[in-house]
Amino acid sequence: MRPNSLYSIQRIIFLIILSAGIIFPEIASAQSREYLLKAGYIEKFTHFIEWPEETTDKDSTFLIKVMGENKFGATLDEIFSKVTVKNKKVRIAYISTISDIKDCMILILSASVKSEQAEKILNYTTGKPILTISENKGYGEKGSMINMLVLDNYIRYEINPNALKKSGFVASSLLLNSATIVDTNE
C-alpha cells in the first residue's frame, strides 16, 4: 500500500514557501499582446470586407488612420509593412482631429476616444467609404462598423451591418457568422 516513502512533509513546505515567494511581486500587463492581436484582426478584416469599387481604384496606397492615443505601438506598422491590401501598399497615419480623417480607407478609433467625440466622428464618416473600427463598449450601437472588445480573455467583435450598408461596404458571411450583430441606436 505504501511502497515508497521518498517524499517527506519538509519538501511540501519547501514548495509552499517557493510558491509564496513568487506569488505577490509586481504585476505585468498583457496589453502589448492584446494590441498585437487587434492589429491581426484588422488585417484579417480587410480580406473579408469589400470596399465600394470606385474608392479602392483611385489611390495608389491604402491609407489607415488611427484617431486618439496610439495604443498599438509599432504593431500596426509592423504588420501592414509585410502585406498589401487590395493590391496596394499600406500607409498608417496617426491623427487627432476630424478634419484629418479624409482620404483614409480605414479609421481606427482608439480606446481613448471619448463617447461624445466618437459620435461626432461617426456622424462625419456615415455614408463615406471609410471602414470605422473601434474598441469601446457601446460604440457599435453608436454607428462604428466594427467594434472590437475583450471578452473572457479573447478578442471578439461586433458588426453594425446597417452602418456598413450605408457606406456601400459588403461583409463576408464568414465575418458576420463570428460577430455579434448590433444596430445603430436611433
Binding site: S8, I12, S19, G21, S29, A30, E34, L174, N177
Partner: protein
C-alpha cells in the same frame, strides 16, 4: 534533493525582483500566419498549462466553444462531448455517467477533467463524476486533448484531458439569468454576473446554477425490466463559482453539490434492493490562487496554489435492502471525505529563436478516506445514523517536469518532455513524451509518442474485498495527425493511433464478491476523421471514429463500438433565428454480461437525432426549444454493474428562456 531545490528557490527569488515588462513571445509574423479562426481562438493571456496555439501543441485537440454550447443548448458535459470524435459512453441514467475516450472503458479514471486547469476528478477513486453538475452557461470553451498527457499532468491523463475553461470577468459589466423547463420534471435556473474596471484592471465574476431532472421513464418494461414501475430516479445539482481578478492575480472557487438517487446502480427487480428513498450526495470544492508574470521576452512564470475537496457526504443512503419475512431490511449510510492542497510553479523560457523550455514543480498533500465509513439502520424504513469519520490516509506527492521544443526549421519542430512523480502512496513513475510537428501554410502534421499512467487509489485498493498489491497501470501510445485547411471555410483532419495499456486495474469477480487486480492488457488501433465547413449561413461538421480495442487474447473489448460517427449543422435563418440539428451514430457493441431480456450480449446500433431551435437577441431575450432523441429511438448503453443494459432517455423536450443584461 534539498540542495537543488534551494538553488531553484534562490533562482526564482532573484527572478521575482526583476522588472516586469510588457512583452510576449507572439510576433507579427506569427499573427500573419494565423487563419481567422486561429485568431479567434487565441487568448490574450492563456489559461492553459502552456501558452500555445492548437496547431503547435504536441497532441490532437478539439474545442467546444461557448457559441456551440449555447446554440446546441447542451445540458450535460456528456452531451457536449458526444458530438466530438473519439467518445463513447456508459450512461447509467443515475448518479453517475461514464465517458470512454479512444476505445478504453473505465470508471472515468482514464480521463483527467479540469476546471480552469485544476483537476476535479474525485480524489478517492481518481474518476470524475459525469452528470448535470457542470454549469455550462458559465463555460467559455472546453478543450479536449486526445491521447496520453501524463508527461505534463501525471496520473489519470491516460486517454486524454478535458479542460473546462470558465468565463473571465473581462469585457465590462454583463450578466444573464435563464430558466429551463422540460419533460421528466426537468428544470434549471442559472445566472451570471460580472464586472471589470479596465483602467484599474480589476474585476469579478459570479455564476450559479440549480438543476433538477428525473431524466427518463425507466419503470418496468420501459427500463428493460430492471426496476419496478414505482422506481424513483432523480438528480438535483447545485453549482456556484466566483472569480476575482486583480491585475494578473486570479482567485477563484468552484463548488458543486450533486444529489441523486442510486436506483439504477442495482437491478432491483428480482433482487434484494429497493429502488426508491436512496440519496447519493457528493460535493466538490475547488479553490485556487493563480499568478502569471512575464519577466522578459524570454521568461515567464506561472504560480498556483490550490485546494480540492471531494466528499461523499454523511447524509448519503447508498442502498436500501428490502425487508423480508425473516429480515427487517436496512438502509446503508455512506461517508467518505477527501481533501488535497497543492502548489505548482512553472517557468517558461524562450532561448533564442529555436528553443522553448518549460519546467515545473508540483507538491501536493492529500488526506483520503481509507474506505467508506458505513452505518446500517437495520430497517427498510428507518434512516441510518450518520457514519463516523473513516480512517484517513495522509499521502504526499512531489513531481517535476520539463519539456523542450526545438524549432528545426521554420516549419518543423521537435518536442520532448519528461515528468517524474514521487508519491508516498504508489511510488515513483517516470513518463516521457516526444513529438515532431510540421506546420506549413495550411497543413499541420504531427507524429507523437506518449506514455501515461493511472495510479491505484484507495478506491482501487479497497474495492470489494480489497487488494493491497496494486501497481500503476501504464499506457504507451503512438499517434500520427494530419490537418489541412483548404480554404478559410473548410478544414479536414485525421488522427491515427495505437495504444497499449498494460497491468490494467481490472475488476475480478471472486465468488460472490469482487476486487481490483493488475491483470490484462488493452490495445487499441484507432483513427478519427473530421471535417468542418462553413458556407454563408450554414456551418457543418462531421466526424467518424474507428476503434479496434482488444485484450491480450485478441478478444474485442466489451462496451466499445468499432464504428461511431457524428454529423450536424447550424443554419442561421436570420440574425435572430438559428436551427441546429445533430446526429450521433453508435455502432453495435457487446455487453460484458448476457442481457436477460435478449439472451445475448449485443447492444444494438442506434442513430440518435438531437436538435435546437433558437430565437436570439430579442431585446436581450433568447428563446430556445430543445429536443433530444427526436425520433424517440429505443436504444441502450451497456452495464458493467449487473446482468442487463441501460435504456437511454426517450424523446425529451425542453424550453429555455434567457435574459442578457
Amino acid at each position: 534533493m534539498k540542495k537543488w531545490m534551494l538553488f531553484l528557490l534562490m533562482a526564482i527569488g532573484a527572478l521575482s525582483n526583476g522588472h516586469a515588462q510588457e512583452s510576449d513571445s507572439l510576433k507579427a509574423e506569427d499573427i500573419l500566419k494565423m487563419s481567422f479562426n486561429d485568431l479567434m481562438n487565441t487568448q490574450i493571456v492563456s489559461a492553459s498549462k502552456i501558452r500555445q496555439q492548437i496547431k503547435d501543441v504536441a497532441a490532437t485537440v478539439q474545442v467546444i466553444t461557448a457559441e456551440q454550447i449555447k446554440e446546441r443548448a447542451y445540458f450535460t458535459l456528456e452531451e457536449a462531448l458526444s458530438d466530438l470524435p473519439g467518445f463513447q459512453f456508459r450512461n447509467i441514467v443515475g448518479y453517475n455517467s461514464y465517458v470512454f475516450m479512444r476505445g478504453a472503458p473505465s470508471q472515468n479514471n482514464l480521463i483527467l477533467l479540469l476546471i480552469d486547469g485544476i483537476q476535479i476528478n474525485e480524489l478517492n477513486s481518481g474518476g470524475f463524476y459525469g452528470g448535470g453538475q457542470f454549469n455550462l452557461s458559465d463555460v467559455e470553451r472546453i478543450e479536449v486533448v486526445y491521447g496520453p498527457a501524463s508527461a505534463l499532468y501525471g496520473t489519470n491523463a491516460v486517454s486524454g484531458i478535458i479542460n473546462i475553461i470558465t468565463k473571465d470577468p473581462e469585457g465590462g459589466k454583463a450578466g444573464h439569468i435563464s430558466l429551463l423547463g422540460g419533460d421528466y420534471n426537468t428544470g434549471m435556473v442559472d445566472f451570471s454576473l460580472k464586472d471589470f474596471n479596465e483602467a484599474k484592471n480589476i474585476g469579478f465574476s459570479l455564476s450559479g446554477m440549480y438543476k433538477s431532472s428525473e431524466k427518463a421513464d425507466l419503470g418496468g418494461a420501459k427500463g428493460d425490466n430492471n426496476w419496478s414501475d414505482e422506481m424513483e430516479n432523480y438528480e438535483n445539482d447545485l453549482s456556484l463559482s466566483a472569480k476575482i481578478k486583480i491585475k494578473n492575480l486570479t482567485a477563484g472557487i468552484v463548488y458543486q453539490d450533486k444529489r441523486s438517487s442510486r436506483s439504477t446502480y442495482f437491478k432491483t427487480e428480482g433482487s434484494n434492493f429497493l429502488d426508491k428513498n436512496t440519496l447519493w450526495n457528493i460535493s466538490f470544492l475547488n479553490g485556487y490562487l493563480k499568478y502569471a508574470k512575464t519577466l522578459s521576452d524570454q521568461i515567464s512564470l506561472h504560480s498556483m496554489l490550490y485546494y480540492r475537496n471531494a466528499t461523499v457526504n454523511p447524509n448519503s443512503i447508498g442502498d436500501i435492502i428490502k425487508a423480508t419475512d425473516t429480515y427487517p431490511g436496512s438502509q446503508i449510510g455512506y461517508y467518505r471525505p477527501n481533501a488535497l492542497i497543492g502548489t505548482e510553479n512553472q517557468i517558461n523560457y524562450k532561448a533564442g529563436k529555436r528553443w522553448m523550455i518549460i519546467g515545473g514543480v508540483i507538491g501536493e498533500i492529500e488526506w483520503l478516506s481509507e474506505q467508506f465509513s458505513k452505518t446500517s439502520s437495520l430497517s427498510e424504513d428507518k434512516e441510518p445514523s450518520e457514519p463516523p469519520k473513516p480512517e484517513m490516509l495522509d499521502n504526499h506527492l512531489f513531481s517535476y517536469y520539463a519539456q523542450a521544443e526545438y524549432a528545426i526549421s521554420d516549419y518543423l519542430s521537435l518536442t520532448g518532455g519528461i515528468r517524474h512523480d514521487i508519491s508516498s502512496y504508489y511510488g515513483q513513475v517516470v513518463t516521457p513524451r516526444t513529438g515532431l510537428i510540421f506546420n506549413k501554410n495550411k497543413l499541420t502534421a504531427k507524429i507523437l509518442y506518449n506514455r501515461a499512467f493511472r495510479a491505484p487509489k484507495p478506491w482501487d485498493y479497497k474495492y470489494g474485498i480489497g487488494n493491497g498489491g496494486l501497481t500503476p497501470e501504464k499506457m504507451n501510445s503512438f499517434e500520427a495527425d494530419l490537418c489541412y485547411s483548404f480554404m478559410e471555410n473548410l478544414s479536414i483532419g485525421a488522427s491515427l493511433y495505437k495504444n497499449w495499456i498494460e497491468d490494467k486495474l481490472t475488476l475480478e469477480i471472486v465468488g460472490e464478491s469482487y476486487r481490483i487486480i493488475n491483470k490484462n492488457k488493452l490495445s487499441t488501433l484507432g483513427y478519427e476523421l473530421y471535417a468542418n465547413y462553413s458556407l454563408k449561413k450554414l456551418l457543418l461538421y462531421t466526424n467518424y471514429t474507428y476503434s479496434d480495442s482488444y485484450d491480450q487474447e485478441d478478444v474485442f473489448i466489451p462496451e466499445i463500438s468499432m464504428h461511431t460517427a457524428n454529423a450536424g449543422f447550424t443554419y442561421s435563418c436570420s440574425k435572430h433565428i438559428k436551427i441546429n440539428l445533430r446526429a450521433n451514430y453508435l455502432g453495435e457493441r457487446k455487453n460484458p454480461l448476457t442481457i436477460p431480456n435478449t439472451g445475448n450480449k449485443i447492444i444494438d446500433n442506434a442513430l440518435i437525432l438531437n436538435g435546437c431551435l433558437s430565437f436570439l437577441n430579442f431585446n436581450g431575450l433568447d428563446f430556445q426549444l430543445k429536443v433530444n432523441n427526436i425520433l424517440n429511438q429505443e436504444y441502450y448503453h451497456p452495464s458493467n454493474l449487473f446482468a442487463g443494459r441501460y435504456r437511454q432517455p426517450q424523446r425529451t423536450f425542453a424550453l429555455k428562456i434567457n435574459y442578457n443584461f
